[in-house]
């Protein structure tokens, strides 16, 4: 069943595969984000209660859901790395962690900027905001562990265990607004039944969301490639690759 995946355990194959995917992700991200953001920020109707302040939704919600999505991706990578001892899974987890940390920070900052005019406060220690802050700390811890050891295999193992322990935080963030009384409102998009947003506001959101997903995919491809190169720098295929790159630069 999983036989088709086996060639990608080879770093060289995966490196080139990520390289082939990169232009597609980049192009789609540029296309979707330029349509989506202009539509969302300039043409989508203003909210009946919040007016134009509502538009930060188009940045805040994709950033927040991606901060959880990237964490789940990292957890899957950590899981395969620990069970199947795949070195590449470590490289991809290391590639994902800083991207997730940045998106968590974006979600927290845009959330604060939205909270001040609407709620009347930048920050409140309710379950949603606190668990999202813990997610940021988890990302920072994983990044620190990946860089704490000379031996990348050992570092991947330590960071992987932290990632798996922290994965319990993801459902807590997701359902915090349902399980407890919070100042943060409930989910608009990802809930059972119809999203509680009007259609002409939903479409630009879908463009923005998919655009950010593609952007994240592109950034992770770039980071994954450099992680693979750094971890395999003594392999002949990397040295051949570098030699050809240098040669083509000198010829120009």
């Amino acid at each position: 069943m999983w036989k088709w995946l086996h060639p990608y355990a080879n770093p060289e194959v995966s490196y080139h595969f990520a390289g082939r995917m990169l232009p597609w992700f980049t192009a789609l991200a540029a296309l979707l984000l330029s349509i989506g953001l202009v539509w969302a920020l300039a043409f989508a109707p203003a909210d009946y209660q919040q007016g134009d302040s509502f538009r930060i939704f188009y940045l805040h919600v994709p950033a927040a859901s991606l901060s959880m999505g990237i964490y789940l991706g990292m957890a899957i990578a950590a899981f395969t790395s620990i069970v199947w001892q795949l070195k590449l899974a470590d490289a991809s987890a290391a590639a994902m962690a800083p991207v997730g940390a940045v998106f968590t920070t974006i979600a927290l900052i845009t959330g604060a900027a939205w909270g001040k005019p609407m709620w009347g406060t930048w920050w409140i220690w309710d379950a949603r905001l606190t668990s999202e802050l813990i997610l940021l700390f988890l990302y920072l811890g994983v990044m620190a562990l990946h860089n704490a050891f000379e031996d990348k295999h050992l570092a991947g193992k330590a960071a992987g265990i932290l990632t798996l322990v922290g994965v319990i935080n993801v459902p807590i963030i997701k359902y915090s607004v349902e399980w407890w009384n919070t100042l943060h409102q409930g989910s608009t998009i990802s809930k059972m039944g119809k999203p509680s947003i009007s259609t002409d506001m939903l479409w630009p959101f879908l463009f923005c969301f998919l655009g950010f997903v593609m952007l994240v995919a592109a950034i992770i491809c770039i980071r994954f490639r450099s992680e693979v190169l750094a971890r395999n720098s003594i392999r002949p295929w990397v040295q051949v690759l570098v030699a050809t790159q240098v040669a083509s630069k000198e010829n120009k």
Partner: protein, 174 residues
């Protein structure tokens, strides 16, 4: 799957299950402390399950919907009182709702409206008449997850009445 991988898979799976169970129990035990606020009915009747009630003089947060018609502003200053009822969907106000009054002296957030969810931070006080009220030092607006353009909200009758100011307040505006 070879035995070593199987062993690691068992270890990782039991680790995950263990963490899940532990954090589930911890969160369940702490659930009342994780709630950001008490609802009006929880203040009078206690939390569901545990019956935990805030005591008089305790600093608490109260969250609820501003009962329409209950907002009273002092024309001479920023003092305002309003009643809160429990948040529920769909939003309907009933005579039998348990209400708690909130006294506040300060600037209300822009989203403060009748029928709007708010969270107030203050002290629980038993008034002279024996009724409980909250003297708030901070009022935060809680908006819901529904977003729609003005025209749509208008046709649904969701636009709330505009705030009414007394003549003195209007005259002193500038």
């Amino acid at each position: 799957m070879n035995p070593r991988r199987k062993k690691r898979l068992t270890i990782v799976a039991s680790l995950l299950i263990g963490i899940g169970v532990v954090s589930g129990l911890v969160l369940y035990a702490l659930s009342q402390n994780i709630d950001l606020f008490y609802t009006p009915s929880e203040i009078t009747q206690g939390k569901k399950g545990s019956g935990l009630k805030p005591s008089i003089g305790q600093r608490i947060r109260i969250g609820g919907l501003v009962v329409p018609g209950s907002v009273q502003r002092d024309p001479n200053n920023l003092k305002v009182t309003f009643k809160l009822s429990d948040m529920k969907m769909p939003i309907v106000f009933d005579k039998n709702d348990l209400l708690i009054s909130v006294y506040y002296d300060g600037i209300l957030p822009d989203l403060f409206r009748e029928g709007q969810g708010i969270v107030a931070n203050g002290t629980l006080i038993r008034g002279k008449s024996g009724a409980l009220h909250v003297e708030a030092s901070e009022v935060l607006a809680k908006h819901d997850e529904n977003y729609m353009p003005t025209e749509l909200a208008d046709s649904d009758g969701k636009i709330h009445k505009k705030l009414e100011y007394s003549n003195t307040q209007l005259n002193n505006k500038y």
